[in-house]
């Protein structure tokens, strides 16, 4: 494959890096006055990148034609699916940011630039087929994310979130690197296809350690139990638009990366890691559900909810089948919409002075003071709980269907029974909004971008979403097929 063809495959990434650099220059020259304009351009760039990535998904790109730079990068349908979600979520978290930061006079021009670079890193994660590409993408995303977490400089909680995220993230990167070096030592190559060939057959203990360490590092990035401790603190401390970003785009990228790593280089050794994934999945479901029950801050609650959801997604990985991978992607798409909607709704909770309301007690009786907002939040909560006819049910449905088809009946039964624990705190939010006496704290108004995003996600999560199941299912199937073709 010649160089030109390789370049053609990385057009979305090229567009992102060039425009990121140009916007960085613009931010340096024009200063914070141009923050809003740069945000608008950044959203346009992300949308353009999504359009450039989409064809690979639509024509179900797979096989050797999708490999660039001698096996370091793969622009197949699977990567395209993840990229569309990543770019969409990143663009959404840019759209909701200005209204939030301008209150604190903290809307600085770096914000959109950092989001673009993070998106670039995530895009590389989704396409990585080499341990080196993997690490570059991961760190590119993480470094931008550390800064974003601490973006609200005057706020102590934000700085704390940034520091915590950095220290623990660096530790996880170290674990991952250690694992990668072990894998390289035993396989003699950093290329995924090469590792798959080398690890086929009997597994050396050292290589097993390598696999475990790599997966542990990735478990940190997707905030799966037992590497989840940073999540509630970072989600609570980071400014809400940044939390929205963390809960959506990096989650997709890290899960896509985990899927690719587990199924491509470690695919032949699925029996070695399946039990680990099953444990992590069930532990995440249970800890995510139990941890959320006592929370008084709605952002912390959403953090535990994301841990819980990652558990369900990992059930799809434990199947190690194309159906399981496809189910994970469908779940991810729905999960992104639920998180996005949830955090946008949280952003819209403001008191009379416009200060954000985060205490769950303060949204008591919201259905009487702000019926539309309460109804939207209720739809999102029931959807997260996986109650039909809301669309959140469909994500759980496909994942458990894949688990049953893969004959993991005990996992499916325990997982779904544990989902009832999770349902408790979701319906508790509904109870507080609908059954309790109004606290009448939420009074502030929100701008059009919030309203538009919230109602778009609510319509997607309403029963109307089921009309998309065929389309979503065929795209996810194509993506999963391309992933397994490569493996």
């Amino acid at each position: 494959m010649d160089f030109q063809a390789s370049l053609a495959l990385v057009v979305p990434e090229t567009v992102l890096s060039v425009s990121g650099l140009l916007l960085l220059l613009a931010a340096a020259w024009a200063g914070d006055k141009a923050a809003r304009a740069i945000s608008v351009v950044a959203v346009a760039v992300l949308v353009a990148a999504a359009f450039l990535a989409a064809p690979a998904l639509c024509r179900e790109a797979m096989g050797p034609d999708t490999v660039a730079f001698a096996g370091q990068f793969r622009a197949d349908a699977f990567a395209a699916f993840a990229k569309l979600l990543i770019f969409g979520a990143a663009a959404a978290s840019l759209m909701i940011a200005p209204a939030f930061f301008e209150r604190y006079r903290a809307m600085r021009a770096e914000y959109p630039v950092l989001v673009i670079f993070a998106a670039l890193g995530m895009s590389m994660m989704a396409s990585a087929t080499d341990l080196i590409t993997l690490y570059i993408g991961l760190e590119m995303n993480s470094l931008a994310a550390y800064v974003l977490a601490a973006f609200l400089r005057p706020d102590e909680r934000s700085s704390e979130a940034g520091l915590k995220y950095f220290v623990l993230g660096a530790l996880a990167s170290g674990i991952l690197l250690f694992g990668a070096s072990l894998v390289y030592g035993f396989a003699g190559t950093t290329n995924f296809a090469g590792i798959a060939t080398a690890l086929d057959g009997d597994l050396a203990t050292g290589a097993l350690f390598g696999i475990v360490f790599v997966l542990s590092g990735l478990a940190f990035k997707i905030s799966a139990v037992p590497f989840h401790m940073w999540t509630p603190d970072v989600y609570e401390g980071a400014p809400t638009p940044v939390t929205t970003f963390f809960a959506t785009a990096p989650k997709v990228a890290a899960l896509a990366l985990t899927m690719r790593v587990a199924l491509e280089p470690f695919g032949p050794q699925a029996d070695a890691w399946r039990q680990i994934v099953i444990f992590v999945a069930l532990a995440s479901i249970v800890v995510g559900a139990l941890g959320a029950i006592g929370q008084g801050n709605i952002k912390r609650l959403m953090a535990y909810s994301s841990i819980n959801n990652v558990g369900f997604i990992l059930i799809g990985l434990a199947c190690t089948t194309p159906e399981g991978a496809s189910a994970m992607l469908v779940y991810l798409a729905i999960y992104v919409a639920m998180s996005l909607g949830g955090f946008v709704a949280i952003l819209m909770l403001r008191d009379a002075q416009g200060e954000p309301v985060e205490a769950i007690a303060d949204i008591a009786g919201l259905s009487r003071t702000r019926p539309a907002l309460a109804a939207a939040l209720a739809v999102i909560m029931f959807s997260l709980a996986g109650i039909p006819p809301l669309f959140g049910f469909w994500g759980k449905f496909v994942v458990f269907q894949a688990a049953v088809e893969a004959d993991l009946l005990a996992l499916a039964a325990i997982g779904i029974a544990a989902s009832v624990i999770g349902a408790f705190y979701y319906i508790k939010i509904v109870k507080i909004m609908y059954f309790d006496e109004p606290a009448d704290v939420v009074k502030g108004e929100s701008d059009w971008a919030h309203h538009a995003l919230l109602w778009a996600t609510v319509i997607f999560l309403s029963p109307l979403g089921y009309l998309l199941t065929k389309w979503l299912g065929s795209l996810a199937d194509a993506a999963a097929k391309s992933l397994f073709l490569a493996a």
């Binding site: 269907q401 049953v404 109870k431 059954f435």
Partner: protein, 517 residues
């Protein structure tokens, strides 16, 4: 026959549109919209019944659109589903009427929740796809949770949580079983699955998973405890719809899924059903006897009646299943009517405490008349729907187990005890409290709700053939399907050779009727 007209979809669409409209209008308009929507659905239900071809195709009014991945939008009804849909659309306008004055806060949302319930109930009975059924079945949790939680009584939060989590836990295990079945049989079509023979080994697990869901919905002892809490805390109309239709989903589930899909497992576990039902009938009847709260008493009586439904369904013969179905229809009418009767006096005195009433037959004679009719129907007096239901169920179960019949019949005697005791304390005796003695008799609105119920109860009691005819062929088909697993009975019935057949027939009915009471 109405060729190709999607009447079932229309019946789903009308209340759905009404529900959305109710959210955007103020109280008066919402009441009118809700009443109009439920009345239109009632008319459509009557059209459905009138056009149902008795003895025709097993599945009628079928619709199928491949809208979704993994399952299809498939509707269609047989006689069993038809009767339950007619019951739902019949009770709904009465529920709206019952909430007309009683509900004053957040009327729009209330009416929307009720209309949504109607959509989901019709959907459950009409769904012909396994997962479409599940979606309708589960979705009912959301409006019911809101109805109990927002408009319920003092302890409503606890009751709503209990209702939601109990039923959810039951249902999710059923979902796993359904996924396995769809994978095994390669189809999600309910009629196809009803004819599919699952491996006997697997049937055991599938049957238990379905039991987890239906037993909670039914509710069977010992997972019935959510029901008294939910009933007591729900507003009157909520209780009517809960007892009238929602409880029928469990019984419908047994008859539609457990029996035809897993005949061997059903036979294997029939003893479990019998034991739980027998305990339910006797135990909850005894509990009902000591209640001071009228709604709680009727709630416990519902559990006892549902016990008769389950023993009848698992009798493995036509009489038992017919009795089970008629019991569901009869209980839908009678318990609905009883909750309504409680609601009538609750609206006046705002207490459900039995001791606060007394001697109502003096100041509310017309009310007392209706209350007595429904009390008698609940006991199963001949001439009311309850008698037909109990007689058929017990005649069916007698062929399988004489002991269980004996225990269940005891429950009916206890039923007479607690209902008559309730009636005596409320309607007879001296007028202890001045405020109870000053209550006015039925208003025109209450008449309009009581009369149709009373007529339906008497109609079903005097001429049950109208209700049995549409179901006969489907129940016979079900009986033929499960015949291969039929357990051996202990009653060893032998057909006698009567000299004069007509005389013998009447004699037999009298004898069995006497035994039941």
């Amino acid at each position: 026959m109405m060729n190709g007209f999607p009447i079932l979809s229309l019946m789903l669409l009308v209340p759905l549109v009404g529900a959305i409209a109710c959210l955007f209008v103020e109280a008066r308009a919402a009441r009118m919209i809700a009443l109009a929507a439920t009345l239109i659905d009632l008319v459509l239900g009557i059209v459905l019944w009138a056009n149902y071809d008795i003895g025709g195709a097993q599945w009628q009014f079928t619709e199928r659109v491949e809208l979704f991945a993994g399952f299809s939008y498939a509707l269609g009804i047989d006689g069993i589903a038809l009767m339950l849909i007619v019951l739902s659309v019949f009770l709904m306008p009465i529920c709206i009427g019952a909430s007309w004055d009683g509900i004053t806060k957040r009327v729009g949302e209330y009416m929307a929740a009720f209309l949504l319930m109607e959509v989901l109930m019709i959907g459950v009975f009409a769904a012909q796809d396994l997962f479409l059924f599940y979606i309708f079945f589960e979705a009912g949790l959301i409006p019911m949770y809101l109805i109990i939680g927002i408009w319920g009584g003092d302890n409503r939060i606890y009751a709503s949580y209990k209702f939601f989590l109990y039923t959810l836990l039951g249902s999710v295990l059923m979902l796993i079983a359904m996924l396995w079945m769809a994978n095994e049989a390669g189809s999600t079509d309910i009629p196809t699955l009803m004819a599919y023979d699952f491996p006997v080994q697997a049937q055991t697990w599938l049957w238990l998973a379905f039991l987890a869901s239906f037993a909670v919905k039914m509710p069977m002892w010992p997972v019935h405890t959510w029901l008294p809490d939910a009933h007591v805390q729900a507003p009157t109309a909520g209780s009517v719809i809960l007892a009238g239709v929602l409880l029928k989903m469990g019984g419908y589930g047994f008859i539609r899924f457990s029996l035809p899909m897993f005949p061997e497992a059903s036979a294997q576990f029939a003893w479990l059903i019998f034991a739980l039902s027998a305990v339910a009938v006797v135990y909850t009847s005894l509990v009902a006897l000591v209640q001071h709260d009228m709604k709680k008493l009727i709630a416990y009586s519902s559990v006892a009646h549902m016990g008769i439904v389950t023993v009848g369904a698992f009798a493995f013969n036509v009489q038992g299943i017919e009795g089970s179905m008629i019991m569901m229809l009869s209980h839908g009418l009678v318990s609905g009517a009883l909750f309504l009767s409680v609601g009538v006096i609750y609206d006046r005195l705002h207490t459900r405490e039995i001791d606060r009433y007394g001697g109502l037959s003096i100041n509310m004679p017309k009310y007392s008349l209706f209350f007595m009719l429904f009390t008698m129907a609940s006991i199963g007096l001949p001439g009311t729907s309850g008698f037909v239901a109990e007689f058929l169920s017990l005649a069916g179960i007698y062929q399988v187990s004489t002991w269980i019949t004996l225990v269940c019949t005891t429950g009916i005697i206890l039923g007479a005890a607690y209902m008559l005791y309730l009636y005596r304390r409320v309607a007879f005796g001296e007028q202890k409290n001045a405020d109870a003695a000053a209550m006015p008799d039925l208003s025109a609105r209450e008449w309009a709700m009581m009369v149709p119920l009373a007529l339906a109860v008497l109609w079903m009691g005097v001429y049950p053939e109208s209700f049995l005819a549409p179901m006969r062929k489907d129940i016979a088909a079900l009986d033929a399907r499960i015949a291969r697993a039929k357990p051996e009975g202990d009653s060893r019935l032998a057909l006698g050779k009567p000299k004069a057949p007509t005389h013998g027939e009447t004699h037999k009915t009298e004898a069995a009727g006497g035994e039941a009471h």
